[in-house]
Symmetry: D2
């Protein structure tokens, strides 16, 4: 059959042409996720789509569902959804809670705030421990609050492991100890969207009930799938919780997963990528992966300090291994040099994407992602781009940030 | 950095090895979706992931959101979710309805039944017009029922355009006329998961309020994204509906889409594929695409009849252009030759996946998908595989099915 | 750096757009090579190019050079060139012969004729045993000729294992026996360009001195690399032969290959593909690969006979397992229906490429390739396209060719 | 058909596993070619192989053959071979020369020496103007020599535009002026293997007769195809030259190219890549491409000087825009720190390949490639890897090389 043209057709999109407008050479995707997807994973996801009810897919499904567990530090089921991290947030809540339930959340930054907003939309009553967006969770505050909840009105404690908006981590084991110290039955739910696969996480050992994760950060995949790891206690809660749930309902998925299948159509090709990414993580060795992220984070902070800029995170014990949020210097008039203009210059002149300051950080904070498929030289290119951007935009700084990173990394 | 091995690591998955166990040559993926993904689309989805908040992605987003509209036959917004078709079903309901609302659904087959079950899980009250799984929607029944609903208890009429489990289509324009004839304000929601991009659909002209679609059928993409096209009336309903909604909520998405963005992270790489698939559909011309599917369906039915087998769909006016469900012949003892054994033999010997009979059709019905990226020769290979399978399994049939298809196609 | 436009630039080529003008669905590439390249091989060749002097490439090189040997049936070196099959013909001659040397060649068809022409261009004196292009090599003729060469003027006997232009194979073991019977020291050179990887070949056992092969046929790769397998006797000849040789010279390549390297830059990415193709051949098992080609060839011939058309190859013992050349029927006026018009219609209407009749076969012969990455259903699609083309072009034939193939294959 | 295992099969190669042994993150391929192949080109080369005699390929061929010309600075034919740069050297000589012809060559480094050796193997008599491998061609020496050749024994002058072994360029226009000043009819042949696409070149304006190029450097392709651009005078010479030629013969190729075809099978998939690479070069604009390479070369030299290391090229006017060869510092005992140990450490610890010192430069020179698909940040990563390597290996140097590059690039 010859192709006819269709008079009412829109102009061709030509995706590769539409996308390739800026710069030459490889793009540096240094937002804190999506991260640079490894070539091996990209090749895996373009393998032809197959029957998701057939024996070949079944073999793959069974292997993936088993291999994903050590990354989460669990022997429990890990549920995989076609969906974004936001979807996995929703899944955690609708499976375990009922309309009007109180949940204790902690304002570590924009993502904690968005999760709280989502809880409200779902008809829950989040109680928000406020924060200054420069520190992680204070486990003592949680313990104190839970001790004042003798009737166990609070059904869940929800915290973010790594706040993508601020570059601040929280001590999840300490939160578990706090809950236990208060002898409170609340579920512990942890958002690991930007830490999973990059920062050590122990779902079982730390007594987490629901771990929420996404594909596009440390797991080195394109966005499109997200995760819930669940404890027995969470599963038990899901049997009685009454928020409406269907797409996100764990029960049917866990049952079908036993045979390597999913009840509704899984995102076949992203799962191919997940298989490859898991192979890569285990080839490198998870402890090496975690150490690598810490090392690159330290190198980044040394660069930031050498430039004379301020790291947003106030507490060194809570520095994020996966991103560093940086405060722009101030002008004589007390206003900040504009972070978004700065990022725009860097994108246009150096073909690098940096993360913007979100919500109340907008305009005066930028974020450097140093996670995922990444190595020393990519980091030096990244930091070099920041230092050149500072110079190009006339932003007051000391030279030598890249040098400081080199000095640290070379040892 | 050298890669260490990690003692507790699982065995490597080796996706390409895990997947490649059956047969040589190209697999024939003739289930009624996921369909054979064109090479151009596969190459598009493995283009490196980029910043979903940057100007390059914005350009792509704006183009996609505009080009998708003519496929749905609408000038209204088309919402794209990371998620499966099941998710898009849920999205349609939670955006527009409130707990306890009555919805009128029609039992055209397994997918209509699953949608009804999903509605129940969400706390709705579906009223189910029963059916024999061999016919489409009877618009008169809908009209009759709505006329008996003077207080407008029924909030929505939900029908499936193309029943993937049976190969039967329904006349959507007739359903709209029925609703109008009954002067009933119920929303009209249509599942086009297996018809969109293959069968003509006119969201605006037919007065559909929510059109639900998926990526992995006529749109020729891997599974992973799904769609809601919405009318003004549906959007209005979403302002007052009270089912909890967050991830699926249209409002924020429509607002962000105006600038080419999404509120939560979109499935970047599948969207690359969508851009390419849309280009392909318009290059061929939508009328040509629809005509091609009809022609392949007719050729398939001629083969089925030549074999002396029965087509599940009873009403020729409702034959599906995208798949044909076939009834297995009976043995002397009155039982059916087993459809699943038959499919298994075909998979193992001829490297082709056929669709199974679902639910009450299991074991005695199989389905031939002839949709998506497909041409005359692929169809002949497909039908040849079925005819060889019949011979190999000793299933009584007349030879000459492929010949009948050739005779039809060659003219 | 922003991209400027350059006033004198040519219009963009847009390869994927330029290539995608004909038809929808997957193209059927049924010329007798290049063949359909498997998805696994295509993915392998787009892996990033690496340092061809580094340890990673070395590992790959050593493995490939070892694994290729069983396909050629040799334990001797197999030399791999960036180049086409024509280059490998030249390599065989310039390494072993001197200006003015007589070589005995056999006119089995167009490729034998081209090889002869190439020998002339290089300053050799080919003696050509003529043929009717419908039969393979007559070993007795070779023996007779060699017996009449008491002074061993003839330095080499050059034959084509599978004549790609005619679909006729030759018995190489018989040629060796003929040479030995004549007690003649001539080298035996065999063109296996369209047989290697599809038809059993035993370089060592059959006493072949130089085996010439290419990548784009049974080895399932894109064109771009070609091969010489060599005997000790051939290597010895290369030490004294005086035709100028540099690029093609075996010596340096064999030496460098010992360490997994090449003296000049190898075609890295095609070699990635070769590694994958070798894995695929051994996964299927070489005996299975050879049996598969024979079975598909027989099915094709049954179809041709059912159509009432004539197979070009006159001798059933010499039927090619990889392609079938078919004679067009004649019109009332004694002229042939035009084969090229026929192929053009099939390309435009059924998205399939068939091989043209070459040289004196042009216009009245077409060729069906059934080699490489291929299976039963692809064959049925292929034959279906031929049968539909016959009908569409009004070429007299009996129906039932595809049916004959089905009947054969299903048993 | 089920896959059987074949008892005598070699172990699977598993190319992607075999290749992925070193490091994580993207490899930095900073040898002076093969260069980093852009993602767009890699995707292009894995598009399915098609019929090289069909209309789709013809369209592509015609476009490529036209678009390649401005890169060579010519309106004459550019011949494309499946083959390496070495093959294109051979092609230039065998097309235009006869056995025993004298050619004047200039010892600019290892590649000039290899070309001379190749000329000898082909039976030519190269006369070699010796050099110290740290300077380019001295046009005056050529002029002087040609003036002493009144009988025009010298048939060709062969020079290397960019010596890949030394990082030294030569002034081709000056060589042409020298030949003209001597009123000598010798052909001018120029090796642009490592400059084409990166350094401005004007085949026509500079009066070059044969320009030799390869795919794997500035043209950003994998290795596998190479080029001869030819003048009318060269074509005229090819009519009478008597070195045996067949595979490399221009005549047939030029004739077939007029219709977009090639006489023997072209390297289809690499040509897809060439189409994409040409689009990319023109999108950036050739003047921008050339300026970019110069700028990165200057930044690299500033880094080298800041480290206190010596640039091999002695003459600033001849600095290469595509690579910089660097001399290792000496130890107290007068011996050099070992360049190969240094490169090995960098490969293992920083996942970067640097070029080795070739032939007499081995062990005391290393080479940094800064050509092809490359940008400022990739350069900073590259230089950072060198600086870290110097530190890690305890090689005496000043810190601040990367800083010097940043200071230069940021302005």
């Amino acid at each position: 059959m010859q192709r006819d043209s269709f008079s009412a057709s829109p102009a061709p999109i030509q995706a590769s042409k539409t996308l390739n407008r800026i710069g030459q050479g490889r793009h540096f995707l240094q937002i804190p996720g999506p991260t640079n997807v490894p070539d091996r994973v990209l090749r895996a996801i373009d393998y032809p789509t197959i029957d998701h009810r057939g024996p070949e897919f079944q073999r793959l499904g069974l292997k993936i569902l088993e291999a994903i567990k050590p990354v989460f530090g669990t022997v429990q089921p890990v549920i995989i959804y076609p969906g974004s991290g936001t979807g996995a947030w929703e899944a955690a809540l609708v499976n375990t809670l009922s309309a009007g339930d109180t949940v204790l959340m902690v304002e570590t930054g924009q993502f904690a705030s968005l999760w709280k907003k989502l809880a409200e939309k779902l008809g829950l009553k989040p109680e928000f421990i406020t924060g200054n967006w420069r520190r992680g969770v204070d486990a003592q505050q949680i313990e104190d609050r839970l001790r004042q909840d003798p009737h166990h009105t609070i059904k869940a404690v929800c915290v973010v492991h790594n706040e993508t908006s601020t570059g601040v981590t929280s001590d999840i084991a300490a939160v578990r100890r706090a809950i236990d110290a208060a002898r409170h039955p609340a579920l512990l739910m942890v958002d690991t969207i930007s830490s999973m696969g990059s920062v050590e996480f122990k779902h079982d050992e730390w007594g987490v009930d629901v771990t929420i994760a996404g594909s596009q950060k440390g797991l080195m995949l394109p966005p499109g799938i997200s995760f819930n790891a669940v404890s027995d206690k969470a599963i038990a809660a899901s049997k009685t919780a009454t928020l409406p749930k269907a797409y996100w309902a764990w029960e049917e998925i866990i049952a079908a997963n036993k045979n390597g299948f999913w009840p509704s159509t899984p995102a076949t090709n992203i799962l191919y990528g997940l298989a490859e990414a898991l192979d890569m993580l285990f080839e490198e060795g998870l402890p090496n992966v975690y150490a690598r992220h810490k090392r690159h984070a330290e190198a980044t902070r040394r660069a930031v300090r050498a430039w004379g800029l301020e790291i947003l995170c106030e507490n060194p014990a809570e520095y994020s291994p996966v991103l560093t949020a940086v405060v722009m210097p101030k002008k004589a008039d007390g206003s900040y040099y504009n972070a978004d203009d700065f990022r725009k210059q860097i994108l246009e002149h150096y073909n690098m994407s940096l993360g913007m300051g979100l919500a109340k950080l907008q305009g005066w904070v930028f974020r450097i992602g140093h996670l995922g498929d990444f190595n020393d030289l990519t980091l030096l290119g990244t930091l070099g781009g920041v230092e050149m951007g500072l110079a190009r935009c006339g932003i007051p700084h000391q030279k030598g940030g890249v040098q400081a990173a080199i000095d640290y990394l070379a040892n």
